[in-house]
Amino acid sequence: MVSHIGSNDPNMNWLTTSLKTFDERYPGVKTEYLSTNEYSLQNFITILNQAIATHPDGIAVPILNSEALQPILDKAIQDGIPVVAFNISDPRPADQRIHYLTYVGGDEHLTGLKLGEYVIEQVNAGKIPKPTRVLCANHDATHQGLKARFAGMQEAMKKIDVPVEDLIIGADPAGARSIMQSYLSTHKDVNYIFCLGTLSVPWAYSVADEMGLHPKLSDKGLTIVGVDDSPNSLEGIKDGKVLASHSQGFWLQGYLPMEFLYFYKKMGMAPLDDIITGPIVINQSNIDLWIKIVKGIIGEEAYKKQITW
Amino acid sequence: MQIVPDSDHVPGSKPLISVKDVCLSYGNFRALTDISVDFYAGELVGLVGDNGAGKTTLIRILSGIIPPDSGEVYFDGRRITRFYPKLAIALGVESIQQAIGLCDNLSVARNYFLGREPVRQFFGIRILDKKSMRDASAKVIRDFGLRDSIDVEDDISLLSGGEKQTFKIARAVSFRNRVIIMDEPTNHLSVRERGRVNELAVQLKQQGLLVIYITHDIFQIHRIADRIVILENGRKVADVSKIAMSAEGLEEIIRQGGRSPTSGPAES
């Protein structure tokens, strides 16, 4: 598995844990996890080429950039190395896209859309204020997945005629807070912040809190929507600070590609269509269940370690 | 190349600075080879030689700027094992170097006291005594005749080349201790100013200091020096007292080295 999710991203634990489970269940097969530490296409291509050079029985890879990876992966497939895409797919139609066996992962556009739809559903139930303007806090301007989430949210909000805006806040907490504060000071009609990454959820909350915008969940004030089934987002929901988050089934994204590659190698069979593992909306109603699931997979200690609130 | 016998000194007096078999190379280039010279207090020694002879290199060693690769240097009979400028200054060596010595980004006053800033106590903390810096440096530059429009708080970059040179000399002289080394001190100076510098050098010697004077001008140095040391290609080729040889004779020695002496300022 060659991935862009490295030791800088707690989501890596999902993938490495699931690979380990696969190793235990399939003792004859060895899995290896290679990753970069940042969204650097160059570095990613370098380690991908290194991985292909070792001629493995199969490769699982996120399609960070379809054009750049196409020549590399199609050649590997021609040389007899089957490829399964995970986490990020090739968005082009089947005849143009990279000839991977299948894609296992979430759909980022759906993520934004489903979360937006959940907001509307709750608004109609009178639980939360009606959105007047939604701010999408984007911590990485180059990440295609985040852009897709933003587009999904935009599509959902269009149904109730609410404008959605994208703001690049950057990855540093102090800079992100400063930028959000500046933005909120003049865009007073923003009452929803959709954090495109889980890391910015506590930052958005504390900025809104400090400015007196009442981000705690209620039927007035500002509302925060997060992403990912990380302990950070989950605890935010539990504490009534975050409306909802989602799970993209990360564990499945590590485990299933390995299984599909194994089955293909052994029996020549592979799924016909993509396997969409998410989004599943996490909210007040299923939060306890999700906390239990996540703690069950990564353990209580690791769970606590990821809470920055 | 003629080797001329060492000059004779007052027997019994010990050299202030003694250099024995000193060698130094810059990479592959041998700058100094087996240099042995003695310098005594109360004399004015001229250090001459053509470009690249090693004069500046030798005084850099004596000023503590670079250490020799091999050989020994003694100051007041004590062997010097570590070479750094602060030690040389502490031992009483003041120098006027070519090209270095003043920082263009600092004021006249700060340059004057560079490395030995006067301090006063401010609630237990040692801070610059700016008043005494101003007063002392202002007095000195007036004494040395630098133009009135210069204020000691001005950047030293406002001074002309000649004024900077005069300033360097003023600084070395006013902090004088036991040795004054001058590397081409008359650079950038007018004829009258040159005359004054030479008078000054003689006065300092008469006050009991050792004055080491590097120059290209044989005739000038022959007039004021007690002794002349000639370096050629990193070696000492002559060490004579002024009476023992005429200026023409010295010039001849240098010329016989295969190159004719040039006049005017240049790197050694």
Partner: protein, 317 residues
């Protein structure tokens, strides 16, 4: 008067007055707002502390590209230590770590005779990697007790609604300005940056001065991180990404020459304010973030040009 105009920070002083007037006229409601002041002063403090440290290094003709990662590493260390130890002790140990980093930078640059740009660039990657590896990608928030602790409040709390971090930055800026302009060490530092050979010849221990500059730089990076985290403890492994360039921009906009030997701490503080205020207002008025980035580049060029022209004109007088 002439000497005042020759100050390296005259350019940024004019620049700051201009933008202050500009923003006051453009939208006084938003500009003269307490939250705006808090937000700008907070970030100015964080960037300012980082940039003050960088000023020392740039004054001696070196550069420190690792400050962003050191800021992050010390910050993460501070929070990590707070899980087990008292806040003052965590702070002390975190600062010792910062000192060690500065010392290491200096040793490699001076001992190895290597360009500081390369060495500290290595540091940038090394310390960022150290953060990732030691935290496995997740930074735990400090315990509630640590956040309420008197020491944490001393650094991260407020004093009559003004944030302590901002006040600390102003205090330290004043002290550093005094160190630079009123002490022998300051004179040595300027000499070491302006003309190291001449400084050396006058007995100044140039390498020791450079070492102190690197140490001060890392320590200030660490201080900035502690100020940030005592106020806002929710952080991430990305803490400090990109800060190295921001700190250099603030220093250079503030009038300090990259060639060394000239600069003021006031200029650096004003440069940090300029950077922060311009970004803040550009975003408030809806400019796309890319505009702001380009604007900083233009501002950098403008201020440097103004500074150079001013000093050239005054020199020829």
């Amino acid at each position: 008067m002439h000497r005042f105009l020759r100050r390296p920070d005259v350019g940024i002083l004019i620049g700051c007055i201009c933008i202050f007037i500009l923003f006051s006229l453009w939208n006084p409601g938003q500009w003269f707002n307490w939250y705006t002041f808090i937000s700008i002063s907070r970030y100015t403090a964080i960037l300012g502390l980082l940039a003050i440290g960088q000023t020392f290094v740039i004054l001696v003709r070196e550069i420190d590209l690792s400050v962003g990662s050191v800021y992050g590493a010390v910050g993460v260390a501070f929070i990590g230590l707070e899980q087990q130890l008292s806040v003052p002790l965590s702070f002390l140990l975190a600062m010792i770590f910062a000192i060690m980093v500065g010392l290491l930078n200096a040793t490699i640059v001076i001992g190895g005779r290597l360009p500081s740009m390369i060495v500290t660039l290595g540091g940038l990657f090394f310390y960022r990697g150290l953060i990732y590896v030691s935290t496995h990608g997740a930074v735990r928030g400090p315990p509630q007790a640590a956040r309420q602790d008197w020491f944490a409040q001393l650094i991260g709390g407020h004093w009559f609604r003004v944030e302590n971090g901002f006040l600390w930055m102003l205090l330290l800026a004043g002290i550093c300005g005094a160190i630079l302009y009123q002490t022998p060490f300051g004179n040595h530092l300027f000499a070491s940056g302006g003309d190291p050979a001449s400084a050396e010849s006058q007995g100044i221990p140039v390498n020791r001065v450079r070492t102190w500059a690197f140490i001060l730089c890392s320590v200030f990076a660490g201080l900035s991180a502690v100020v940030t985290l005592t106020k806002d403890p929710q952080t991430n492994v990305s803490l400090g990404t990109g800060f190295e360039l921001e700190s250099i921009a603030a220093v250079v906009i503030g009038g300090t020459l990259l060639a060394g030997g000239r600069g003021t701490v006031l200029g650096t503080v004003l440069g940090s304010f300029f950077f922060t205020a311009v970004r803040s207002e550009m975003i408030a008025f809806g400019a796309p973030p890319s505009w702001y980035t380009s604007f900083v580049g233009i501002a950098l060029l403008l201020v440097v040009t103004v500074n150079t022209l001013l000093s050239k004109r005054l020199r020829s007088n």
